[in-house]
């Protein structure tokens, strides 16, 4: 049985959720069916005085059955699914007896919706417990009455952020904001409080079922709310660019549900849910953020046969921005850190970065002074290589210079453990070449972190020609240990992320050289779903660095006897740096001006540099170019086996450089677009704009065989 039924001497029934053979309770078909059976008997039990709902698992109820959700094919099926759950909840809250939710653990999505259908929510006071509506992060909306009950409980204006942003909160905050009514110290206290409340409230009723119901914080129909509704879509779209249908449907469900009575509101909610659940965006997001991300975290790209490894002492070479960031996240994960630079003073500066970040946490009340001290004490700043003694992992984050990297590698290998892993945080230099300078190339690997390290969730693991499987397994485990997401790629120039990201900036800059309006290029990229426009991000990266890397690559290729093809965007970077001395944000001027006061503005000289000429492309055309160029380069990486899994491609693109999440990543983009349609559009773009849009052979074959990127 997925629900255990007990009735005590005071005629209080307790329903305990306990899904057989599963660590969690889910809102699945079995639960709903069982709930209906219990409702039948509860409704006919005249001696009943009240109902307590609780769970036997760690969580109260973790949410929906994602497999079932993902399998939804059409809107009828979606409505049918949620209406059953809704009906059960409605019967529960209108049964005529007081119902208390004894929330012993996290209540998320459908779990919290069930709690909302109870008349009282009592939650265990445990900071590990989370409460909220994560639905929007998978492109759907809470359809167990959540968009109806929740705003009626705490108010529209207070409720919308939870529904639209999917944020989860702890019990203490949930109590403060009215998401729960009472906290309990332990399980006994939880049940005791529930029993007491039932005894005290035999006539309990939901506010929305009472004749004198008033919306807290204002009736959605009231003129006072017009201003709020008027700005709500603009406020949301400021961040989402209208790319997330779930955000739009949540707003509609709350607004429209607020114009009518509760039950009609619930019907409206089901329809908005169904449109999302049967639509492409939720499939993209569930595919990537549920199945593929979970697959990655479970080690799909990690070689089998090696025991889970836990790094004890990590040495970090170079206490610059990257090195100090890596030191911070490692120390935070409980690993001892040796942060080495040319001298103690420089290394200390890097350590101060961690102190700064920890101070912020303390001042926000998210960490104690004591804990901060403990973490900081794990980081040893030093100027001496001897201090690397005993390190089982060393990560170099020194300047992108082959000779320097060779030097620090040799030095570290003198002192670190002989079976330890040496990793390079290079973002551009091929790992195989760097490994040649190592005494043990099978223990040499690339760990490409992103800046700022403490905020960016991805680490790109680069496997060199000689990198051993055990080394990969250890590096993979380390990335999970510091709570980052690993993707595994094979060595290639720019690996995966830098290589594809470059096509984005180059395409954007290329548009400028074609005489397209700079502001329009930036706007099109943001509308496409990129987090930052190509001109702005180039300034952030630094134009001089882009030029440096390009020149280095050119030199390398010449040594291999290959001539680097001319890229118009790179010519522009060269002009910006050499002709106009505008090297980017750090230099205070790049594609943008960075006044000391006020926000950055596009450099007016850009309009003279490439005056508008010929036809101005439509925004759709620009968006296609900006996105297709990235997707096609990803397919080439996949074809060349730089990438080996679709999951790594998708997650890497979103977490690495912000490819639009609603598309589900670079390869899912093709599935979403339709493989054949994508192939045809690529050909069109190639005819119009050049061979970088030529579809790779792999794509042609897939279209032929009607295959998707699985």
């Amino acid at each position: 049985m997925s629900i255990k039924y007990e009735k005590d001497s005071q005629n209080i029934a307790t329903l305990t959720f306990d899904k057989p053979g599963s660590p969690v309770n889910l809102v699945d078909a079995l639960l709903v069916e069982t709930l209906f059976k219990h409702l039948d008997s509860l409704e006919s039990d005249s001696s009943l005085t009240g109902i307590i709902i609780t769970s036997n698992k760690k969580d109260f109820l973790a949410g929906a059955d994602i497999d079932r959700l993902y399998a939804i094919k059409d809107t009828d099926e979606a409505v049918f699914m949620v209406d059953a759950f809704k009906k059960a909840l409605r019967r529960l809250e209108t049964l005529g007896k007081p119902v208390a939710a004894a929330m012993n653990g996290s209540a998320l999505g459908g779990g919290y919706e069930l709690a909302l259908a109870c008349h009282r929510r009592i939650c265990m006071d445990n900071p590990k417990i989370e409460i909220g509506f994560p639905e929007v992060t998978l492109g759907i909306l809470p359809a167990g009455g959540g968009t109806q009950r929740f705003p009626r409980l705490i108010g529209v204006q207070k409720g919308l952020p939870y529904l639209m942003e999917g944020k989860r909160i702890r019990p203490e905050e949930a109590l403060k904001n009215g998401l729960v009514d009472e906290l309990a110290s332990d399980r006994d206290d939880l049940i005791k409080k529930a029993v007491q409340w039932i005894k005290d409230n035999p006539e309990a009723k939901q506010p929305w079922d009472s004749d004198n119901f008033r919306w807290p914080g204002g009736d959605p129909k009231s003129p006072n709310m017009v201003q709020m509704w008027a700005i709500a879509p603009s406020f949301a779209n400021k961040k989402t660019y209208g790319n997330y249908p779930a955000v739009k449907n949540i707003l509609s469900s709350v607004y429209e549900g607020g114009q009518v009575d509760f039950e009609t509101g619930c019907r409206i909610e089901s329809k908005y849910f169904a449109e999302l659940a049967a639509g492409k965006t939720s499939k993209n997001m569930i595919n990537t953020f549920w199945y593929q991300l979970n697959g990655i975290k479970k080690g799909k790209s990690r070689p089998d046969g090696f025991e889970k490894y836990s790094v004890k002492k990590v040495g970090i070479l170079g206490a610059g921005m990257m090195g100090s960031g890596i030191a911070y996240v490692s120390a935070l994960a409980g690993i001892d850190v040796v942060l080495k630079d040319v001298d103690m003073k420089t290394a200390e500066k890097g350590r101060a970065h961690s102190a700064e970040l920890l101070n912020k946490r303390v001042s926000r009340g998210k960490m104690t002074e004591e804990k901060k001290g403990e973490i900081l004490s794990r980081i040893k700043a030093t100027g001496k290589a001897q201090d690397l003694d005993g390190c089982d992992l060393v990560i170099e984050a020194v300047f992108e210079d082959r000779n320097l990297k060779a030097e620090v590698t040799a030095e570290a290998e003198k002192y670190m453990l002989p079976d330890g892993v040496f990793a390079s945080n290079t973002s551009t230099l091929p790992i195989t070449g760097l490994a040649e300078k190592s005494g043990r190339p099978q223990q040499f690997i690339g760990l490409h972190f992103f800046s700022p390290v403490h905020r960016m969730p991805l680490v790109e693991i680069i496997v060199g020609k000689k990198t051993g499987k055990e080394t990969l397994a250890k590096a993979f485990d380390y990335v999970l240990q510091i709570k980052k997401t690993p993707i595994v790629v094979n060595d290639s120039r720019g690996f995966y992320t830098s290589r594809v990201f470059r096509t984005y900036t180059m395409e954007g800059l290329g548009l400028l050289t074609e005489g397209q309006d700079p502001a329009t290029i930036e706007a099109a990229s943001l509308k496409a779903g990129m987090p930052i426009g190509p001109l702005a991000v180039s300034d952030e990266v630094s134009l001089s660095l882009m030029l440096h890397i390009s020149e280095q690559t050119k030199k390398d290729l010449e040594e291999e006897g290959v001539k680097m093809p001319d890229v118009p965007g790179m010519k522009l970077v060269e002009r910006m740096v050499n002709e106009y001395e505008r090297a980017g944000k750090k230099a205070g001027k790049g594609f943008y001006d960075y006044p000391e006061k006020g926000e950055k503005r596009l450099w007016p000289g850009l309009w003279d540099l490439y005056p508008a000429r010929g036809k101005q492309y439509s925004q759709e055309e620009m968006i296609d170019r900006i996105l297709f160029v990235q997707v096609l380069e990803t397919i080439r990486c996949y074809e060349e086996k730089v990438l080996t899994t679709t999951a790594d491609a998708n997650i890497g693109s979103i977490f690495g450089w912000g490819f639009p999440p609603f598309k589900g990543g670079t390869l899912q983009f093709v599935n979403d677009y339709g493989v054949k349609e994508f192939l045809n559009r690529s050909k069109e773009l190639a005819d119009e704009y050049g061979e970088r849009f030529n579809p790779p052979e792999l794509l042609v074959k897939m279209a032929d065989k009607n295959e998707k990127f699985e």
């Binding site: 201003q227 779209n237 739009k248 607004y255 509308k527 503005r601």
Partner: protein, 400 residues
């Protein structure tokens, strides 16, 4: 097709549309009643000869609701055989009422119509009527709704009007209005009296004649905050070449919030003669257009062109213009695009100085235009307004 003539035009003074405004204590229906009485008296009108009453009102709810046109006519003691209709074309409502009246006459279906508008913004604040366009998130989102002030700032940004440009326009509107009031140019004003016959207001009280560039420079942009909250982003999504919106409009260079009403007596020449009415002007042509709704306020140019074309006139044939001063940038853009000499535009000031009682304004400025054509002994005048949700309206009158 027949011709429609204007026999008379009356209006209330415009009172400040806040609690400290003189007309705040006056009910909207009494603004109209004042004018119904005046119209009857001035023209010695047998009201049973009137075929319909058409009244523009934007926020037709509460005491402005339930078809105030019919109710006000009845309450004013006019003959019960006169029906009434209230209409809403946002800021064009007052002029739309005139145009609809004209069309009734031109078609020959009806002979004598009272047309005008009313808005007590102090009592029924702007936006009180909600509406799907504004408050329904799905509609709002689909149509890229932004408030008019942000639209006006968007126009200024695209057209390159600086803060100094729009402020200078506002100062000039104040100076012209103050002078016109002093010179007694607003002849059609009917004082509003209380129940005891005491005058509550007999002049446009919103004018600030001491306005200078310096006093305006101190005012903060009104639409910066809503812009930052998200409306700028919406505007920029619609106009992607705009990198940043320059917020130049504020309370001093946007139309004032006021209370007021206006009525015109319109009919065919024959019906007028039969009732002893003397035509003052003929309605030459009229036009309404729809334009892009996010920038919203660019309607005066295409509606003016459409009205000119229908009348077979060119811009240079028009002696005087009234372009509603919803926001300074709206008039500046219309003047520039239509290549109109600014000396022929709003010669007695406009809504920046005297205020814009939404549903009434179109009828008010048409009356002012008519008075000024007579004053200057000119022939042709054109009246145009920008309109919410992206519309424009224009009417051309010719003295007879």
């Amino acid at each position: 097709m027949g011709d429609a003539y204007i026999f008379d035009a009356v209006r209330t003074p415009r009172g400040k549309g806040k609690k400290d405004g003189s007309l705040y204590e006056i009910k909207p229906i009494d603004l109209l009643t004042t004018l119904f009485h005046a119209l009857k008296e001035r023209n010695d009108l047998d009201t049973s000869g009137v075929d319909d009453v058409v009244i523009g009102c934007v926020s037709a709810i509460g005491e402005q609701g339930a078809d105030i046109a019919r109710v006000a006519a009845l309450y004013s003691g006019w003959d019960e055989t006169i029906p009434g209709v209230t209409l809403n074309r946002f800021c064009a409502s007052g002029l739309e009422a005139v145009n609809l009246a004209a069309m009734k006459i031109m078609s020959g279906v009806e002979d004598i119509i009272v047309a005008g508008g009313v808005e007590s913004m102090s009592r029924i604040p702007i936006g009180s009527d909600g509406g799907a366009w504004v408050e329904d998130p799905r509609v709002n989102d689909t149509l890229s709704f932004i408030p008019q002030g942000v639209s006006a700032d968007l126009i200024a940004t695209i057209e390159g009007f600086s803060r100094e440009d729009v402020d200078a326009f506002a100062v000039s509107s104040q100076k012209k209005a103050a002078k016109a009031r002093k010179d007694g140019r607003f002849k059609s004003i009917i004082p509003v009296k209380d129940i005891n016959g005491k005058v509550v207001l007999d002049h446009d009280e919103f004018i600030r004649e001491n306005t200078t560039l310096e006093t305006l420079a101190k005012l903060k942009p009104s639409f910066q905050f809503p812009g930052d909250m998200g409306f700028d982003a919406t505007a920029k999504r619609k106009y992607p070449h705009v990198e940043k919106i320059d917020h130049v409009h504020h309370a001093g260079n946007s139309s004032g919030i006021v209370d007021g009403a206006a009525l015109l007596l319109i009919g065919s020449r024959e019906a007028g003669e039969a009732m002893g009415l003397k035509p003052r002007a003929k309605i030459r042509s009229l036009a309404v257009v729809g334009t892009e709704p996010t920038i919203m306020l660019t309607g005066p140019v295409p509606s003016t062109r459409k009205a000119l074309k229908r009348a077979g006139l060119s811009i240079n044939d028009i002696d005087l213009f009234e372009i509603n001063e919803a926001f300074a940038a709206v008039v500046l853009k219309a003047q520039r695009d239509l290549e109109i000499d600014p000396d022929r535009v709003n010669v007695n000031g406009g809504a920046i100085a005297m205020g814009h009682p939404l549903g009434a304004t179109g009828a008010i400025i048409l009356g002012i235009l008519l008075d000024e054509l007579e004053e200057q002994n000119k022939e042709l005048g054109l009246c145009t307004l920008c309109v919410g949700a992206g519309m424009g309206i224009a009417t051309i009158v010719e003295r007879v």
